[in-house]
Symmetry: C2
Subunit: 460 residues, 2 copies
């Protein structure tokens, strides 16, 4: 695999998306005003790749690029634009052209295009959309971001339970209001409650005269509109779903979520979780400088307070350090090793909490495991570091004190690294954000206090 990975790295032509050569070529052609050449090149491109091109164009080149795009604008291009490019791009297109493009997208993609736009612009576009669709969109945009109601598409295919397969096939062939693409139809009762699903391949491979009820699968999971998108993603993963019906509070089917939307949610959620551990957000890469500086500073202030507490602990032992200056560099080792070991534990625990692997019954077990791991690693490092220090300073007692402090701090790191995130979550906070700084505060303070304290009372 290593060999192969290297090969892939060396291979500079991307296997998807647009190459840097193509971007440069388009830029030059736009600057030279050679619009027909640009049109020729983008004609066969996938909408996702055109969106990629847009990402790479500055606003003056983008203005030219928009005039080159065929009208009506391919709606799939809009659906593939990233947030930061969307606004840039939509400003250059008239609301009527946007509304026209949106008409052929499924509602979830339309919502994806419209969300996060500024109010003024959103209003202008909504005004250009036919009244019937507008009302529906406004309703969906009212669901909180990150909820199933926001993620779902309204376009679904429902069939009554008493139909035959043939009737369903005829309905699909004749209906004018089908989703852009779909993989399953939902079987509903008279109250429009979903009671089963039939995948399209089941419709195709079974005898057309059989009743739908005979080939339908029971519904594994119905998604309430208010469910959070991370929960929805977990359900899709757990059951390996392709699509799932979304229901209103009274149980009626109102839409569906498909697995291709879930792919993005999963990436977002996992990223969020772990990037929070380092105090950055997953959108950080695209944010403007001042926003980034502000967001990061907030977290740095937390770590600063942590460091200040640690510094003031050290300052309590000034006299000991004056007497034995070697303490000043040995103390750094104790604190750092505790912090590093603790962050390993926190990272594992935060992930396990997020994926719900760390459930009832498992909690005691995993705390015990972390403490055992800490026992083993701390003893190993105690021996290495204690001996090193004893040899370095030609002082066995310093080595012993360093070793004891190291064991205490790494054991604490193992215990607190598991229990702090659990505790933080029980308090209703996000463990990914707060568990890390909390933990390193304790390992710093404990590390310095135990080592300098022991040294003061045993060595001086």
């Amino acid at each position: 695999m290593d060999e192969q990975e290297k090969l892939e790295l060396e291979n500079s032509t991307p296997t998807y998306g647009v190459s840097s050569e193509l971007v440069d070529f388009i830029k030059e052609a736009l600057e030279a005003g050679d619009f027909s050449r640009v049109q020729e090149i983008i004609e066969p491109l996938h909408a996702a790749d055109v969106a990629d091109l847009i990402t790479n164009l500055d606003s003056d080149l983008l203005e030219k690029f928009v005039t080159v795009l065929n009208k009506p604008i391919d709606p799939e291009i809009l659906a593939h634009l990233e947030d930061q490019d969307k606004e840039k791009f939509l400003k250059l297109v008239s609301p009527d052209d946007i509304a026209e493009a949106l008409a052929s997208l499924d509602s979830d993609d339309v919502v994806h295009v419209l969300e996060d736009l500024d109010k003024h612009e959103l209003k202008a576009i909504l005004r250009a959309i036919p009244a019937k669709n507008r009302a529906m969109l406004e309703e969906v945009l009212n669901y909180p971001e990150g909820s199933a109601g926001r993620l779902m598409q309204r376009e679904i295919v429902c069939v009554p339970t008493f139909w035959t397969i043939q009737e369903a096939l005829d309905f699909i062939r004749e209906s004018q209001e089908l989703p852009e693409s779909f993989y399953e139809v939902y079987v509903v009762d008279t109250k429009h409650h979903p009671i089963g699903t039939v995948s399209l391949d089941m419709l195709l491979r079974n005898d057309p005269s059989s009743p739908i009820a005979e080939v339908k699968n029971t519904i594994t999971s119905t998604i309430p509109m208010s469910m959070g998108q991370d929960e929805v993603a977990r359900i899709f993963q757990h059951y390996g779903l392709v699509s799932a019906p979304v229901i209103s509070p009274n149980g009626r089917i109102v839409g569906m979520i498909t697995v291709d939307d879930i792919v993005n949610v999963i990436e977002e959620e996992v990223e969020q979780d772990i990037m929070h551990l380092a105090g950055v957000s997953e959108s950080d890469f695209h944010e403007p400088i001042f926003q980034t500086a502000y967001a990061r500073s907030r977290w740095l202030i937390v770590t600063l307070i942590n460091t200040l507490i640690a510094a003031s602990v050290i300052s309590q032992f000034q006299h000991s350090i004056e007497e034995k200056v070697a303490l000043s560099f040995l103390m750094v080792i104790v604190a750092a090793m505790g912090g590093n070991a603790g962050m390993q534990t926190v990272t594992v625990t935060v992930r396990a909490l997020a994926t719900k692997e760390l459930d009832y019954a498992h909690k005691g077990k995993s705390i015990a495991k972390e403490i055992f791991v800490a026992c083993i690693t701390s003893v190993v490092f105690e021996i290495i570091l204690g001996s090193l220090a004893a040899v370095w300073l030609k002082d066995v007692y310093v080595g012993i004190v360093l070793g004891i402090a190291l064991i205490c701090n790494m054991l604490w790191a193992g215990f607190a690294g598991t229990s702090l995130p659990i505790l933080v979550q029980r308090l209703g906070l996000d463990p990914a954000i707060s568990a890390g700084p909390l933990l390193t505060t304790t390992t710093d303070v404990l590390g310095y206090a135990i080592f300098l304290g022991l040294a003061t009372y045993l060595l001086l």
Copy 2:
């Protein structure tokens, strides 16, 4: 959203999977030997939930549980088992029963069940599988783990380009060897090269007498068998694919990958990336204690070397610290702030490299951005901390030296936090693993050296 999230947290009944009450109930029933009751309860459960139950049973209860399961064993249960449970479970079932269950699974799921088994067990099961399927499985198991060849399923539906829709529909209805589920059929030329896809809903909504060639979509991406699964996942995400054909080196279609397999790959890849930053692996949570201790120690040794280098830098300034003991706690602040700011930058950069957002042209831009952000944040913290130190120690010059050292270190952190991961990747190494420790070594060493050096020459 916050309100709603809290509500969801408080709600202890899980929205999917098995509740702790159910697990306890099953355990009690198994212990009491009330097998018919257990059978009654698991009868309506989804295979994924039965797999969940298995995760929660100790080996002696599991032995009883296996006797309760209906024969033939539902193959979907096998497909949903996690690695560590799979081995435990398969040991309790006869190879013939396993082979029988596997017969109705698609090849990708069979491979998922069989991979990572010990050689002896794998041989016993393969021997029980019919010769034709066995040869195919052995071939697939030869592809490296994490490659498209491993991820794909061999079962696909291909139709020649000259057929009509009706002919395709008839073929699907009559074929005995269809995949367990599928969403698209592939249009192939006479050499069996894929030249288009037709989604099932397109087959259903178009006139049966039209030629397939008229409704087919061009293929967006063909996946070579040797492609890495992270690359495959990126392609699916980029183009929003539902399935993609996998081709052999000579271009013939040999299988397909579907989006439901990609969901798991994406989670794995994102987790891997960022968990490596903390020196833990994504399987860490389930590994036995000694393995975990070993794996984590390796990374801790790297951070230990880092810390030792930093300690030896400090030891060079022993005399300065003896003269002005306050330096011993102020130096800790400079190093910590540089390390924290740097790790924020490294995390963002590693993610951007993995998602290929950090491409050609973007590199200079993002290094520049990080340096600007570092400028802003370091000046802010310089003022806060410098003043604090000046007031605390009643010594303006100490505050100034602290401030200068802080700015230097945070600027370096911004520059190195972006350029180190890029450099590491260009050397063919994984930036997620090595960039973190490398960076903190530099921020520690620089932090201590600049601060203690400046203090020695300016203050003493």
